[in-house]
């Protein structure tokens, strides 16, 4: 299919095969994102969301199936090679930045994601003003603290920086892995807003996993619900507009014929 930035074809992934702990994390999963799509993924713990992310990012190789990004078959590409095409923000605000390095040094590393790293100065003058300009997008005043060590920033600031670092080089795919889950409500709100603006600004094709149903409804143009390694519901742009948290819960019950597990996180 042409005009597809991310495509998963018949992905299977089993953990601990042949033991009592055998678990099919992904079962015949198919997924397709067109350029500019912003898809949110919801589902309870163990639904396979993280495995889905790991299969796309290259941290795991599927047992069966094919992963295509921007028309190339990347199924067997190493994680670091694949990340030339993928921007990632993790759940842990500490995971996306190097704490003992300065803000500008972190940005320089992000800047060279799509370039060959050689013996050029990481933070040259022209790059610095470029970084400043990008940092202004966050409205956190970080543009005046270029030489501050990232370890000194608060969790919210670090996550905002991670988001910027993952996006300003305009990756083909942006993966957001519950990136607001570890923040307090007001910080989470801030990061959600930033995500909206940044994704729109750069026109990024995005896949976002979240536990927060309201967030899944507020953001993006497509939504999928996962359970037991499968996509059990897929909402297109028009369908998504009519959805509410209650209707999502009802839908889950109708499809699965059971109450959604009393998982606090999923009801927020």
């Amino acid at each position: 299919m042409v005009n597809s930035l991310l495509q998963l074809k018949q992905i299977h992934k089993v953990f601990n095969e042949g033991t009592a702990d055998e678990k099919a994390a992904l079962k015949n999963l198919n997924l397709h994102l067109a350029p500019g799509d912003f898809m949110t993924v919801i589902g309870s713990n163990g639904a396979g969301k993280s495995t889905l992310m790991n299969v796309i990012s290259g941290k795991m190789i599927p047992d069966v199936g094919e992963v295509r990004i921007a028309e190339s078959d990347v199924t067997f590409w190493k994680e670091h090679k694949r990340s030339e095409l993928i921007g990632r923000v993790f759940q842990d605000p500490m995971a996306g930045t190097a704490p003992s390095m300065t803000i500008e040094e972190n940005l320089a590393i992000a800047y060279t994601r799509t370039r060959r790293r050689g013996l050029k100065m990481g933070v040259a003058k022209n790059r610095r003003s470029f970084f400043q300009e990008k940092l202004e997008m966050l409205h956190l005043g970080l543009e005046n603290r270029l030489q501050a060590k990232v370890g000194l920033l608060s969790g919210g600031e670090r996550q905002a920086l991670s988001l910027l670092m993952a996006t300003f080089t305009e990756p083909k795919i942006l993966l957001l892995d519950e990136h607001t889950a570890a923040l307090d409500p007001s910080r989470a709100e801030l990061i959600t807003e930033l995500t909206k603006t940044i994704v729109a600004n750069f026109g990024l094709t995005t896949l976002m996993v979240t536990h927060n149903m309201q967030q899944a409804l507020d953001l993006g143009n497509k939504l999928i619900m996962m359970d037991k390694g499968q996509i059990i519901m897929e909402a297109t742009e028009e369908q998504k507009q009519g959805l509410t948290v209650t209707s999502l819960l009802e839908e889950f019950q109708r499809i699965r014929g059971e109450q959604l597990t009393n998982d606090q996180a999923i009801l927020i």
Binding site: K81, S83, G96, I109, A110, T112, R117, M121, G122, V123
Partner: protein, 335 residues
């Protein structure tokens, strides 16, 4: 006595190269690399064998550096491709290098005293400049053999310090630092962490082997046992340097490590002057120095924190007293 201190600064400047190597692995890559004990001797062995074989001592020293680079890369490969724990990769390499070093040398000790080495060449070059005579006329009574080695070795240490400072700011240097700081992060920015670690360990051990090659020429022999405990000496230099001179930035830290390496030599020299101690106690002294450098700053920090709290407590209680006094006064005027 002044001559003893002078000599420890000379040796300290050469050991500083080894300490800078240890800094790269231990601090930058966060990889406690025990290869050092072996690669230090590999450098010495390669330099000694080549010099005895008639090779230009400068080329022999460069070859020593290259041998260390290869040894470090092998440790890196054991860890990244063989998935062996960092400590164990280093230990395995260290033990393997012991035999390899013996093979390189062919015997356990190679004397270099009658050979043309980098030290003799540098000394005669320095003598031709005539600076020694000038300094002697300035400071009569204090006559070291030559000022050449101390000056040139310090220059060499600083040359490598500045090279490291510069390298760690380049794109690839930043990536190496990030690999030691947050591996998840740097991998998500398309960096091959395996390659970065192998490269980092290679560079680290290249410096260690360079130091080994120079020490062999400085002491006038290469010995298969000269690397025992080298990693602890390197760590001692790093830790003392950071504790005494600070390590806020990379530039500051590398400077601190040169200082630490020299300071370590001076401490050992002074310790050995104590009548009761002899050369066999060196390793024990080293261990005690490292323990001291690790524990004392913590104790000082705790002491400071306790005083700060006490001060704060006094301030708060004084404020409270004043407040209650004011309230009392206000209550009185009310009545």
């Amino acid at each position: 006595m002044p001559i003893a201190i002078f000599n420890s600064i000379e040796a300290g400047a050469i050991y500083a190269l080894m300490a800078l190597g240890v800094y790269l692995s231990f601090r930058i890559l966060d990889f406690p690399d025990l290869t050092v004990d072996g690669s230090f001797v590999t450098g010495a062995a390669v330099a000694a064998v080549l010099i005895v074989g008639g090779v230009n001592p400068f080329i022999a020293t460069a070859a020593a550096m290259l041998s260390g680079f290869l040894a470090g890369c092998l440790t890196g490969l054991l860890h990244t491709k063989g998935k062996i724990n960092p400590l164990l990769s280093g230990i395995l390499m260290m033990i393997a290098l012991y035999s390899i070093n013996l093979r390189i040398m062919g015997k356990s000790n190679i004397p270099l005293l009658s050979e043309e080495t980098m030290m003799t060449k540098l000394t005669s070059f320095w003598k031709s400049l005539g600076i020694d005579e000038f300094l002697e006329s300035m400071m009569p009574g204090f006559i070291p053999k030559t000022w050449g080695i101390i000056v040139l070795m310090l220059l060499l240490a600083f040359l490598f310090k500045f090279l490291i400072d510069w390298f760690l700011k380049t794109d690839i240097g930043l990536a190496i630092r990030a690999a030691g700081d947050n591996e998840t992060m740097i991998r998500s920015f398309s960096a091959n962490t395996d390659l970065l670690k192998v490269l980092g360990l290679g560079l680290s051990n290249a410096l260690v082997a360079l130091s080994g090659g120079l020490i062999a020429q400085y002491n006038g022999f290469s010995d298969v046992g000269m690397g025992i405990g080298m990693i602890v000496i390197g760590l001692a230099s790093v830790i003392i340097g950071e504790a005494v001179f600070g390590a806020k930035t990379i530039m500051r830290a590398t400077l601190a490590i040169i200082g630490g390496a020299i300071l370590y030599r001076i401490i050992v020299t002074l310790a050995l002057r104590v009548e009761f101690l002899d050369t066999g106690d060196m390793k024990l002294i080293t261990a005690l120095i490292v323990i001291g450098a690790l524990v004392i700053p913590k104790l000082i920090e705790n002491q400071r924190e306790r005083q700060r709290r006490k001060r704060r407590m006094a301030e708060v209680s004084r404020n409270m007293m004043e407040k209650s006094g004011e309230q009392l006064a206000a209550a009185k005027t009310d009545s």
